[in-house]
């Protein structure tokens, strides 16, 4: 783990998750084009400079947002109710269909808003280890450690459930369960999976909790934390910066 001040990984996870929230709200509620565009660019630049993405992630970061914006622009352009935008310029006429500039602008703004919120969320998402986030929440948000560690244990349940469900589906098919097609039959089939799945999950959960208690989980109000997740001056700077960018839309108003 890099401790460089230029690496987002060295910042406090809780700060990375919470500090972009005001900016996400401002970007999500904006109605113009500039605000979300500026936030998207800020998020992207921060990730490119300080997120140190791997090649694959980098490719997605660079190609994903423009593709998303383009997709939303075109689809809004085609699907927006013409009655709302027929006072704008007709960009293209194709038989009975007219493409209005207003529709394209709505699409572009929506695309930019989604991209901005996503990129701001990825500041934490791409640079944070889940266990560190939980550790930091316990240390800095005073979350009870029981809840945090219950979360860890629950995360380990997920792949197990998926495997169990797969086997139960096969097992039921072997027994000759075939409710036919369609949503009702599917629903009925899945409700048949629930009993064995839940019975297995409850038993597993019971065993895990017995094993955890046997290993002293809950013996004291706190636990030893081997890895201290720091909360430093740089985290305050990051938080201030992300709050400060919320004033960008007002600036564009002045300009």
């Amino acid at each position: 783990m890099s401790d460089s001040i230029l690496s987002l990984r060295s910042y406090n996870p809780v700060v990375k998750v919470l500090a972009p929230v005001p900016a996400m709200i401002v970007a999500g509620l904006s109605r113009d084009l500039w605000t979300p565009a500026v936030f998207a660019v800020i998020g992207l630049v921060m990730l490119l400079i300080a997120g140190r993405p791997r090649a694959r992630t980098l490719a997605w970061l660079l190609a994903g947002p423009p593709l998303l914006v383009a997709l939303l622009t075109v689809s809004f352009g085609v699907w927006t109710d013409p009655a709302l935008v027929d006072d704008t310029t007709a960009v293209l006429e194709l038989g009975p269909f007219t493409l209005w500039s207003g529709a394209l602008v709505t699409g572009l703004a929506t695309g930019l808003r989604v991209a901005a919120v996503m990129l701001l969320a990825l500041i934490a998402g791409l640079t944070t280890d889940g266990t560190d986030l939980v550790r930091s929440m316990i240390a800095h948000l005073r979350m009870p450690y029981r809840i945090g560690y219950a979360g860890f244990a629950a995360m380990r349940f997920v792949p197990r459930f998926r495997r169990d469900l797969e086997i139960i589906r096969l097992a039921h098919r072997v027994r000759g369960v075939d409710g036919g097609r369609g949503p009702v039959a599917t629903l009925r089939r899945y409700s048949g999976y629930a009993v064995p799945l839940l019975a297995g999950a409850m038993r597993h959960g019971d065993r895990v909790s017995l094993a955890m208690e046997a290993r002293g989980f809950g013996a004291h109000p706190t636990r030893t934390e081997r890895r201290h997740v720091p909360l430093r001056a740089r985290d305050a700077v990051l938080a201030l910066w992300l709050v400060a960018v919320c004033f960008v839309p007002h600036l564009t108003g002045v300009l």
Binding site: A199, A211, M212, A214, R215, A219, H220, T224
Partner: protein, 563 residues
């Protein structure tokens, strides 16, 4: 004499039972009025027939019963002088460490190192101490090099060794292990026992072990405590002498003895003096070698399979994603064979079994089966569909639109065969483990399959329930059903199977009568298998080469047939 570390005084436990109207009562006490003391340096094996409360008793040693599991406990348990009801379960974690049966249900964190640190962290030890203990514990079980791995990537044996490391890191005076190898393959069992043997040799703590695999445990246990079916202590004494002197009592109680001992009893019954009674294959070999002559082994009854093929697999290749699980497997099974499929985890056993039964995976035309095939999954609960035992059996026949009279007759017949007549209106999930297993076999039998395929039918079960199920399969086999079982239980394979198929990395690496396959050390090593105890013993004979091919109890000379 050193101090008593664990003291049980008149301990009885009654589990809560719920009647059909939802009323709660307490069942019979299992265990019942158990009094015992464990001292530092002792390794004590707890034995008893299935259902006598062995596992329940282990849960009382750190207060899980009665504090967490709501059962009624009478009597007292003290650990290092502290009453287990006077403090909390986590508060006892510095005194008693536990290793449970299911390695998957003991893992909380994402790396081996974090996992071992989990306990000491809970005890609020300083960071330096946590790190030191974690390293020492991981080194002792041989997993230090893998400390940064995800526990998920370990084998079953590896995960159970990790659970032992987690227990060691708590540095408790008492270590309790509840069937630590029941869910493991033979290589895993060996791994875990190698580790346990080393820990026991240090003599620095009291170890209480529940284990039905006596063959693995007997050589490092000092003392045995035997419970009877009612959960009372009937024997408590030094391991060897207790087992040897009370062998008839133990047999009568239904306690599973080491296979070498069972073999010796059988030979004694046939008039061959086997003195002293052996407990391990090596001892059996030594005793037999003292005899100048031995009667010839029993001729194996010729296989009753007919030449007509029942299952034909042609060039079967199965992919899971991009990864090929089976490579170009071809084989023919004749009607009436009892085929065991063995191999290490991930060798493709389940995939092959599912393809044979037509459950999943096979390309059209790769597998042909004469007559209907039934498939029994590893976990019976996964297959249950209805709320009553009898409906469960009737379900498959209703799908086939048989007449109600026919369905009723077949259900009655099956209930008798499976020993479930009294339980016909019970919810399948409320049956005991062995009953659930029998019912799941029953659901596969209703369509009268010519071929029955079972995936790990004895997994996680004790010997008694396993034997019960195998007798059922054996009866089906004698009636002409072709049986295919996926199993790494070598005792089962040796005693029942007429043919053993060994898979490694998706290919068949051996195929023949079990006795021949066991003679091939290279194949066994490649597949992580171990020859059954009888084969180990007779192979060590120097004076009686004519016995070298034996693998089963049933091969031994005897005056009566007994298993």
């Amino acid at each position: 004499m050193s101090d008593v570390l664990l003291r049980l005084t008149g301990v009885s436990v009654r589990h809560e039972v719920y009647g059909e109207d939802g009323s709660m009562s307490h069942g019979p006490p299992r265990p019942q009025e158990v009094s015992a003391e464990l001292r530092a340096g002792e390794v004590v094996l707890l034995l008893g027939p299935s259902g006598c409360g062995k596992s329940t008793l282990t849960l009382t040693t750190n207060g899980l019963i009665p504090q967490v599991v709501t059962s009624r406990m009478d009597g007292t348990v003290t650990v290092a002088g502290v009453d287990t009801t006077a403090t909390t379960v986590p508060g006892l974690a510095a005194d008693v460490a536990m290793v449970f049966q299911d390695p998957d249900a003991q893992i909380v964190t994402a790396t081996l190192f974090d996992e071992v640190c989990f306990g000491p962290e809970n005890l609020l030890l300083p960071v330096g101490e946590v790190l030191g203990r974690a390293e020492e514990a991981l080194r002792r079980v041989g997993l230090w090099e893998r400390r940064d791995d995800d526990p998920e990537h370990l084998s079953g044996g590896g995960r159970q060794r990790l659970a032992i490391a987690c227990a060691l890191a708590l540095r408790t005076p008492v270590l309790v292990l509840d069937e630590p190898t029941a869910n493991l393959d033979p290589a895993g069992v060996e791994e875990v026992y190698r580790t346990l043997r080393e820990i026991a040799a240090e003599r620095d703590r009291a170890v209480l072990l529940v284990e039905h695999n006596l063959d693995a445990a007997i050589d490092f246990v000092d003392r045995v405590i035997v419970l009877d079916a009612a959960g009372r202590v009937v024997l408590d004494g030094p391991a060897r002498t207790t087992l040897i002197e009370h062998v008839d009592e133990l047999v009568a109680l239904g306690v599973w003895l080491p296979v070498a001992t069972l073999a010796a009893l059988r030979l004694r019954a046939a008039g061959i003096a086997v003195e002293p009674l052996p407990l391990t294959p090596r001892e059996l070999a030594a005793v037999l070698d003292e005899h100048p002559t031995l009667p010839p082994p029993r001729a194996r009854s010729a296989a009753e399979s007919t030449p007509e093929p029942s299952i034909r697999v042609r060039n079967l290749t199965v992919h899971h994603g991009r990864h090929a699980v089976l490579h170009d497997v071809s084989l023919t099974v004749r009607a009436g064979e009892f085929v065991a499929v063995a191999g290490a985890n991930g060798a493709g056993k389940t995939t092959l079994a599912q393809a044979i039964a037509g459950v999943a995976g096979a390309r059209r035309g790769a597998v042909t089966v004469t007559g209907p095939a039934g498939f029994v999954f590893q976990n019976p609960e996964h297959q249950f569909l209805t709320n009553r035992v009898e409906d469960e059996l009737a379900y498959g026949m209703r799908v086939l639109r048989l007449s109600p009279a026919e369905i009723g007759a077949r259900v009655d017949d099956l209930l008798d065969r499976l020993g479930l007549r009294e339980l016909r209106t019970v919810h399948p999930f409320l049956l005991s483990g062995g009953q659930k297993r029998r019912l799941s076999v029953g659901t596969a039998l209703v369509t009268r399959p010519k071929v029955l395929v079972l995936d790990e039918p004895t997994f996680g079960q004790d010997r008694e329930r396993a034997a019960e199920l195998l007798d059922l399969l054996d009866a089906l086999h004698r009636d002409g059903t072709t049986v295919v079982v996926v199993s790494h239980d070598m005792h089962l394979v040796a005693e029942y199977a007429t043919r053993l198929l060994v898979l490694a990395e998706g290919r068949v690496i051996a195929d023949g009568p079990p006795a021949e396959v066991y003679a091939d050390a290279a194949v066994l090593a490649a597949a992580g298998l171990r020859p059954p105890p009888i084969a180990q013993a007779v192979r060590a004979l120097t004076h009686h080469p004519e016995w070298h091919g034996l693998t089963r109890l049933a091969d031994l000379p005897a005056c009566e047939t007994a298993r």
